[in-house]
């Protein structure tokens, strides 16, 4: 009996496999189409001919097609990530949990009530009452407005440092004399330190930034910013705090040479803390408006024309696909529904995934209103490199190295550059083998003028990305080790 049952069971398994295969072959779409979740084109049914069969191209393409056409592929890949996440913390899970834990301990420390979860707190009455400047109806077009660049509202140390661009000489290695911090300012003026970056860590980062600068042409610049995550913003909005601040720029700027500018996101965003929805509740990322403020500050410093926030065309998204919280958790959060709308700039640029230095495959545009926005905008797995051809003819190229925060920032830089290449060095995003070369080689290949480092406080300055990968990936020629994907 038992043997019979096992036989039936294995028979059913086999039948299920056959059924799946038949369903894919008969009913799955045969043409290439974009994947919202992965932000790439899914494989089409491969061309079938004698040449393709002889070379094996059909067989390779067929396996890709089966995988990409698998029913409920997005959900299943997400499920596999969740299963992996059950047994080990992925980077983002870890960061999110760490932030939640930190926020909770902060809440306890400040004797907050248990009914008010710190990450989802109601903004103060005046902030809630202030209407959001985000336009409900998207502006029709993107119009570059060079003459209308507004004055900077917060002077950045970068401005004080040296806006005049000159070639960066090899800077002598300087050591930071103290740690740097990011803190929240209590209403009584005292500090509640949230992040501490060791002097040793900052001393390691500085020469690497100079090394990046040395790869650029004479007038090239390196612009660096570490952006606070939403937890801090929502804590500032409680009655316990009045401000936030950081001295990373003060400690790091003296350590770097000319042409490297350290920005303080806390300073730049401060004027808007209580007047604008800088971050969405229920997620650690920033809103487009906050990213625009950052982009504006940098663009002005570089002397590029600034396109005002309202001049971009937007669409509104209601689902936040990049959230670390489950839909159930989001439902249970006591946040204003209004705060769950996400303006996404529509940026009609040509977009490619780059592999092995020069291999391009067309991808969905950075933002196109054909697709659901924020999943592509923030959550997409753009590995290992992306290339954006903007259509603006400024004669310059930028490289943006960031974590998920840079996705909201990048659209606002498209008016300043002919093309932008971007990458995310975190280990679950960056694949050095498929990259097929070092960052230095990418800088040379694409004739990069300016390099941006834009990561959030989850990607800690003390951590692996800054302390190891930034230099390792700059210099290691993975093409020499693994090949550049020929054949």
């Amino acid at each position: 009996m038992k043997k019979k049952l096992l036989f039936i069971l294995t028979y059913v398994c086999l039948l299920s496999l056959a059924l799946l295969g038949a369903v894919i072959l008969l009913f799955a779409p045969k043409e290439a189409r974009p994947s919202d979740g992965e932000n790439r084109m899914l494989a089409a049914f491969p061309a079938l001919g004698a040449r393709e069969l002889r070379s094996g191209a059909f067989m390779d393409g067929f396996e890709d097609y089966l995988s990409d056409a698998f029913p409920a592929r997005d959900k299943l890949t997400d499920l596999s990530r969740r299963v992996l996440g059950l047994f080990g913390e992925r980077d983002e899970d870890y960061a999110a949990q760490e932030a939640i834990a930190k926020a909770e301990s902060l809440a306890m420390e400040e004797n907050m009530t248990a009914q008010e979860p710190p990450i989802a707190e109601e903004p103060p009455a005046e902030a809630a009452a202030t209407p959001s400047p985000v336009p409900e109806t998207p502006a029709p077009t993107v119009t570059p407005a060079p003459e209308e660049a507004s004055e900077p509202e917060a002077e950045t140390p970068a401005e004080a440092a040296a806006p005049e661009a000159t070639a960066a000489p090899a800077a002598p290695a300087k050591k930071a004399e103290r740690d740097a911090e990011f803190w929240l300012v209590r209403t009584d003026g005292s500090r509640n330190v949230q992040e501490t970056y060791s002097a040793e860590a900052l001393s390691t980062i500085a020469p690497v930034l100079d090394e990046y600068r040395a790869c650029l042409p004479e007038d090239g610049k390196v612009l660096f910013v570490n952006v606070p995550v939403s937890t801090y913003y929502f804590n500032v909005l409680t009655s316990a705090y009045s401000d936030w601040d950081s001295d990373v720029d003060e400690v790091l700027q003296p350590l770097v040479g000319e042409g490297v500018y350290i920005y303080d996101a806390a300073d730049i965003l401060r004027p808007y803390l209580f007047t604008e929805d800088l971050y969405p509740a229920g997620d650690h990322h920033w809103h487009a408006i906050a990213a625009w403020h950052m982009a504006r500050a940098m663009t002005e410093d570089l002397g590029y024309p600034v396109t005002e926030f309202y001049e971009w065309k937007y669409k509104l998204e209601y689902e936040f696909h990049g959230s670390p919280y489950t839909p159930e958790q989001l439902q249970n959060m006591t946040i204003e529904r209004q705060n769950r709308r996400y303006p996404v700039p529509v940026t009609p640029v040509e977009s490619y995934i780059l592999r092995y230095m020069t291999q391009r495959s067309p991808s969905v545009y950075l933002e196109s209103d054909r697709f659901k926005g924020y999943g592509i905008y923030l959550g997409g797995r753009w590995r290992p490199w992306r290339l954006f051809e903007t259509g603006y003819h400024t004669g310059r190229t930028a490289l943006i190295i960031g974590d998920s925060f840079y996705h909201a920032f990048l659209p606002y830089m498209t008016t300043c550059y002919d093309r932008i290449i971007s990458t995310d060095l975190r280990n679950d995003m960056y694949n050095p083998v498929v990259s097929g070369g070092s960052i230095r080689q990418y800088i040379e290949e694409y004739e990069v003028d300016d390099v941006y480092f834009l990561m959030c406080t989850y990607t800690s300055l003390n951590g692996y990305v800054y302390q190891e990968l930034m230099e390792k990936y700059l210099n290691t020629d993975y093409g020499a080790i693994y090949g550049r994907g020929e054949g």
Partner: protein, 479 residues
Amino acid sequence: MVFSSLTFLLLFLPVLLLLYFLRPGWRWRNGVLVAASLLFYGWGEPVWILAMVFSTAVNYLCALLMDRSRSRAVRKLCLALGVIISLGFLFYFKYAAFFGGILVSLTGLPLQVPSPRLPIGISFYTFQVLTYTVDVYRKKADVQRSFFRLLLYVSCFPQLIAGPIVQYSDVAGALTRRRVRPKDFSEGLQRFIRGLGKKVLLANICGAALSATAQAGTGADMSLLGAWLSALLYTLQIYFDFSAYSDMAIGLGRVLGFTYKENFNYPYTAVSVTDFWRRWHISLSSFFRDYVYIPLGGNRRGGLCTARNMLIVWMLTGLWHGASWNFILWGLYYGLLLLIERFVLSRWLEALPRALRHVLTMLAVIVGWVIFYYVDLPAVGEHLLAMIGLRVSPGGGLVRLPLLDAAAQRVLREYGFFPALAFLLSLPLRPWLQSLSERFAFTERLSYFLGAILTPALLGLSLIFLIGQSYNPFIYFRF
């Protein structure tokens, strides 16, 4: 095609089994199997089918001539012809570039060194077809008069690409008469699914964890524990990768009516290096024992000859894995270890507690895998040095490494569970459960229940994980 591809799982396997069992009788089934095997082999690189068919044809003709001739000289000539052509073929594709390069660098001659692409599975099917020719020469096996059936033996897809190396005499009978009972079908498929789970859920994840560690020779700074962690991860990955393939091959063989010998027997429980090689890649060890070591004289001509034979066999074993110095070094490393174990340390080792012997063996095995992993020898040295907490500074001196690097920490945090699970599953839990079930009725029910639940669960999970993995070749494919 690989067993863990969607093409194989969703289309090839179901269609093959449907056609295979459509009609009874071994002629129909042999026909289906040869056609399927050639499609399986040619999928991706159809041109190499010709190489395999040519190698089979040469050995088929040599064996026929051998069988018809009564002259010993002619028989020897036929054997030599079959062996030389088969090995020549293997040498050209696998070793010509390596040895040609050495020749050019030694002599400085302006030679054009050929570097052809390696036909997949050539090392495996060459050795298989040689077992046929040699067995016919030794009169251990009857000559196969049907080329078609010999082609079926050589090309039979379950063991074609990555073994186990099936000796002709072991399956000669099944080429003309074989029976598949429902029990063979279900147990064979269950074993295949277990193998698939091992490959996708353990080997691939250990591989992903390994690639996230700092690697010697990539410019990344390693740490003492990081170096050990990556060595351990590779130790687990290669075992689960290769034994998974063997499980799948043996399981599929059983579904199709063939009985293949086991290729692994819990090698990481070995208590000596000799014991390890009785448990690891058993079909390769058996091949070298039966077709190289014993013909060279084995251990019957005194200690010196035994030592020489062992070193030859182990150097060839290393070379079989690839045309690279690290494989030769790896083979010689094991040759020397086995010699030392046999002639110097045998009594001392036997006196040690079993647990200590096991630890020492695993130490030797892990060091062996480090040699095996890196194709460039300086990286091997760098990694081995890191395993004792040192590295060579740019000035040439030795400097201490940190205890734990950030990459290793991250790997432990993100993947720690899977290597731990893999380690547990490398222990003989199944025989232990079986022995329990013989003693207690409830454990028998439990084991049956587990089998019934785990089989579909493993298949489902493996499929889910496969969808997200675009590239998951078996390590032993490159050999």
